[in-house]
């Protein structure tokens, strides 16, 4: 007889009770229903596919956006003696992939990137497996990246058909109604699919925003916060070089264990930093958005945005690293005039000049060339990797390729048409992204309750909680413990000696000391 859900929860994970929503969702998954689960960060979404996978016959596929995230989850499962989980991604050698898939029949969970899932060999392999269900973790990526930079996310629905349409579970913590719609369509979810919506509010994260004059003041402010605040702390920045420079300066100035993390580092280094962070060997990690998604470290005390994120969804996602044990924690965003230019410039840099499409389409040597070759050539004419992928995917969507993935030769008017449409499309996406950046800026400069503002973005109304733990504008104070340190530091050396050695002085001054 099959184990009950509670037994499984206890036996595999050692938990006594389900968290709100978990049981209902898991029951749906076990019954083979399509589900969209929107739960807050740290709400326990991993369990929603891990437990059913362990309890079901067959193999569950988990589609996950980041290598680090997959590796981390698999390692954690294995640490709990659940050896029937592996992950596969582009970072592995052919040999390593073979080893990992060796006993595929006995596996219960297979973590894959969407790109890996699109590979024909992978599809052939999986077609012969009994799949229990497919889970798409961080499903908002479908909408955030799927449109342009990770087209394989848009293909997921099609891939599911190849496998005879197993049940689908989509999970996210940052879904606006529009994003939910995107997920729905992209995964071709069934009409009777269940939607489980929960409040995304992270009540134990106090929200702060601070304006500073310039870069210099910002750095000083950051260091002051790092100096006074509890640790560990995550600091988000926009650029790789800034992450490195700030980490170096912070380490020098503060005597803290500081590291940086960004997508430009090699995989081993990134894994090391993540492992150190999880093992409490670091006080501060200065990172780009490449770090953090899904990372489950219970005691992150604060998430500080040194540069503003590009959209509210990312913000929600990134601050969600804080306070996962339920303890008081803080999210701070620092803003200097003109900061919006950073995400703006970065966004502009992601789009290719539309004329690039013309150059590719009129290049006779590319007629009949495969998609991947066209992409290579696109880089050859000076586009960045991201731009190249974008333009080729757009050409693909505009019907410039045969079904065999070979590029068509188009007539001149047809080419012009494609270029014009591409240009319009880029214009439109730029506007959308500009609006998203403006939204973030508006959040930072907002003078009302930040929590209300943030949640309104997800169509959620907040019931005002305790104002003292809400946000700076509701007069929340920094989480307990952090201010006291500051008081102490303002002591003169004489005051310090007195407090140390003259107990009467100490009790006399207690009244004016600290505040809780």
């Amino acid at each position: 007889m099959r184990m009950s859900l509670e037994e499984g929860l206890h036996r595999f994970f050692g938990f006594e009770n389900f968290r709100p929503g978990q049981k209902a969702i898991i029951e749906d998954v076990m019954h083979g229903r399509d589900c969209l689960a929107v739960l807050p960060t740290g709400g326990g979404k991993s369990l929603l596919y891990q437990l059913p996978a362990l309890l079901s016959d067959g193999l569950a596929i988990i589609v996950s956006p980041l290598i680090a995230l997959m590796e981390d989850q698999v390692q954690e499962l294995r640490a709990f003696r659940m050896k029937q989980a592996v992950c596969l991604h582009s970072g592995l050698s052919q040999q390593e992939r073979k080893v990992r898939l060796h006993a595929i029949e006995s596996l219960k969970l297979l973590y894959l990137s969407p790109e890996m899932l699109s590979q024909p060999w992978m599809q052939r392999l999986l077609k012969h497996q009994k799949l229990s269900f497919v889970a798409v973790d961080e499903a908002h990526c479908i909408s955030q990246w799927g449109h342009e930079f990770r087209p394989d996310y848009q293909m997921l629905g099609h891939v599911l058909e190849v496998f005879g349409r197993p049940p689908v579970l989509a999970l996210t913590a940052t879904a606006t109604p529009a994003v939910r719609e995107d997920i729905y369509t992209a995964l071709r979810m069934k009409e009777n699919a269940r939607i489980h919506l929960f409040s995304l509010d992270r009540t134990n994260i106090r929200l702060f925003g601070e304006s500073v004059m310039d870069e210099k003041e910002k750095q000083t402010r950051l260091f002051t916060i790092l100096h006074h605040f509890q640790r560990p702390v995550l600091v988000y920045v926009m650029s790789r070089s800034r992450a490195e420079a700030l980490a170096e300066r912070a380490a020098e100035a503060l005597n803290l264990r500081t590291a940086y993390y960004h997508g430009g580092m090699d995989a081993a280094d990134r894994q090391n930093i993540q492992a150190q962070f999880l093992a409490d060997e670091l006080d501060v990690v200065i990172c780009t958005s490449a770090f953090g998604m899904g990372i489950n470290k219970p005691d992150v005390a604060a998430v500080i945005h040194y540069h503003m994120p590009s959209n509210i969804e990312s913000y929600m996602q990134e601050i969600g690293r804080a306070g996962r044990s339920g303890k008081d924690s803080a999210a701070v965003v620092l803003y200097a005039p003109g900061d919006e230019n950073l995400p703006h410039d970065m966004m502009l840099g992601e789009f290719p000049p539309p004329a690039a499409a013309r150059m590719l389409l009129e290049d006779t040597s590319l007629h009949g060339a495969l998609l991947t070759e066209v992409e290579k050539q696109a880089q050859g004419i000076g586009l960045s990797e991201v731009q190249a992928r974008y333009v080729v995917y757009q050409l693909f969507k505009a019907g410039c390729f045969h079904s065999t993935n070979e590029m068509k030769q188009l007539s001149r008017p047809a080419v012009e048409n494609v270029v014009r449409e591409l240009s319009d499309r880029i214009m439109k996406r730029r506007k959308e992204k500009e609006a998203q950046i403006e939204e973030v800026k508006a959040y930072i400069l907002f003078t009302g309750c930040r929590r209300q503002k943030l949640l309104a973005h997800f169509n959620e109304e907040t019931v005002l909680q305790d104002a003292s733990i809400c946000c700076d504008h509701c007069l929340a104070v920094w989480p307990p413990g952090s201010e006291k340190v500051r008081d102490r530091e303002d002591l003169s050396w004489q005051g310090r000696l007195q407090k140390l050695l003259l107990p009467d002085k100490r009790s006399n001054e207690k009244g004016g000391f600290g505040h809780e």
């Binding site: 100096h227 050396w493 000696l497 007195q498 140390l500 003259l502 107990p503």
Partner: protein
């Protein structure tokens, strides 16, 4: 950018050794190498204050510092791996010292080792009394070493006053003592102390609040410790509690282990040849010990090995020639018809103090 103390100290030291020594000898001084050569260099060039103050400086980091000073134009490369401080370097050094004078009480030669022993005791004494005076009897000792813990336990047993009185007295001694120091030194020392409801602050934290570089905070802290030990040697009666914490530390002359063995035999009345025979050492080695001892202990029988006239002559020659190259000094003395061995030369110069112009 903040000018760093370590680079300024380097300039200062290279200025002192002029082109008589390579930077390596400076490196050996600050890291406290206890070779006869280094000990002697430290005395000769009046760099004994900085002896052993950077015991953990890596050689590579030291040379990076040199390279940086070269690049900035503060140093110029001379022949045979020697460096000279350029006018720009001198100006920079002056500017730095005007702004933040080198801490005056640092004396690595005399107190580097002593302060390393003294600090844990002071820290633990304050930490313990801080708790006991408030009637907190269960706490985790601030210093982990069992030896120090035992020492403080015994020290407390030997006191007659109540804990409150002891704490108050220690407070007043420390307050009086630190009062004599620049505020940055006092704050660095007090900042690193801990006790009931107050943990010690890191160098980095102190650097932020004192607006100094971390390295400088450390030196300020050392400055305070060396000052305390210095004061305790002079006026132990004014600071009975602190003096009792340091008594045994101050009693020992600071010698290498092997030299201290030689010193013991010397105190028993043996002479150089007897000691070499007794210890089975070469004469040269024991000579090195003698030079070390002569610079350290007041009771060294200097004139049994070199006549007062020669000592005087040597010092005179060094002043006249403005050189400390042994060979040059020896040649000059021998040119005037006197005979002097290298051993005697080194002995004559080992006591240093009188050499100051």
């Amino acid at each position: 950018m903040q000018t760093r103390f370590s680079s300024m100290l380097l300039l200062h030291m290279l200025e002192k050794v002029e082109t008589f020594r390579t930077p390596r000898s400076v490196y050996h001084i600050v890291t406290g190498k206890r070779s006869a050569q280094t000990l002697q260099d430290a005395r000769w060039f009046h760099l004994d204050h900085w002896f052993h103050i950077y015991p953990h400086w890596r050689e590579a980091a030291f040379y990076t510092e040199i390279d940086a000073a070269l690049k900035t134009g503060w140093l110029a490369l001379e022949e045979e791996g020697m460096y000279s401080v350029t006018p720009a370097g001198r100006a920079q050094l002056q500017m730095y010292q005007k702004d933040q004078p080198f801490p005056a009480a640092v004396n690595g030669w005399r107190f580097a080792a002593g302060s390393r022993a003294f600090w844990p005791r002071l820290h633990l004494a304050v930490h313990t009394l801080s708790h006991l005076a408030a009637k907190e009897t269960s706490f985790r000792p601030a210093e982990g070493s069992a030896q120090v813990q035992q020492y403080i336990k015994a020290w407390l047993k030997g006191q007659r006053s109540t804990y409150q009185e002891l704490a108050a007295n220690l407070y007043s001694e420390l307050e009086r003592m630190l009062q004599e120091l620049p505020a940055s030194s006092a704050a660095s020392a007090a900042g690193r102390l801990s006790g009931l409801g107050m943990s010690g602050r890191t160098l980095g934290q102190l650097a932020v609040s004192l607006n100094l570089e971390e390295e400088r905070v450390k030196i300020e802290w050392l400055n305070a410790l060396h000052f305390i030990l210095q004061t305790l040697t002079k006026d132990p009666g004014d600071y009975p509690l602190l003096a009792s914490l340091a008594a045994d530390i101050l009693a020992q002359p600071r010698l290498t282990y092997s030299a201290s063995q030689t010193y013991r035999l010397l105190q028993k009345g043996m002479n150089l040849t007897e000691i070499s025979a007794h210890r089975g050492l070469k004469n040269g080695t024991v000579e090195d010990h003698f030079v070390e001892i002569a610079g350290e202990a007041d009771d060294f029988p200097l004139y049994e090995y070199v006549s007062p006239q020669i000592v005087e002559h040597v010092r005179q020659t060094v002043n006249d020639l403005e050189t400390k190259k042994l060979r040059a000094v020896k040649e000059a003395i021998e040119a005037s018809g006197q005979v002097v061995s290298y051993f005697q030369l080194r002995l004559a110069l080992s006591t240093g103090e009188e050499m100051k112009r």
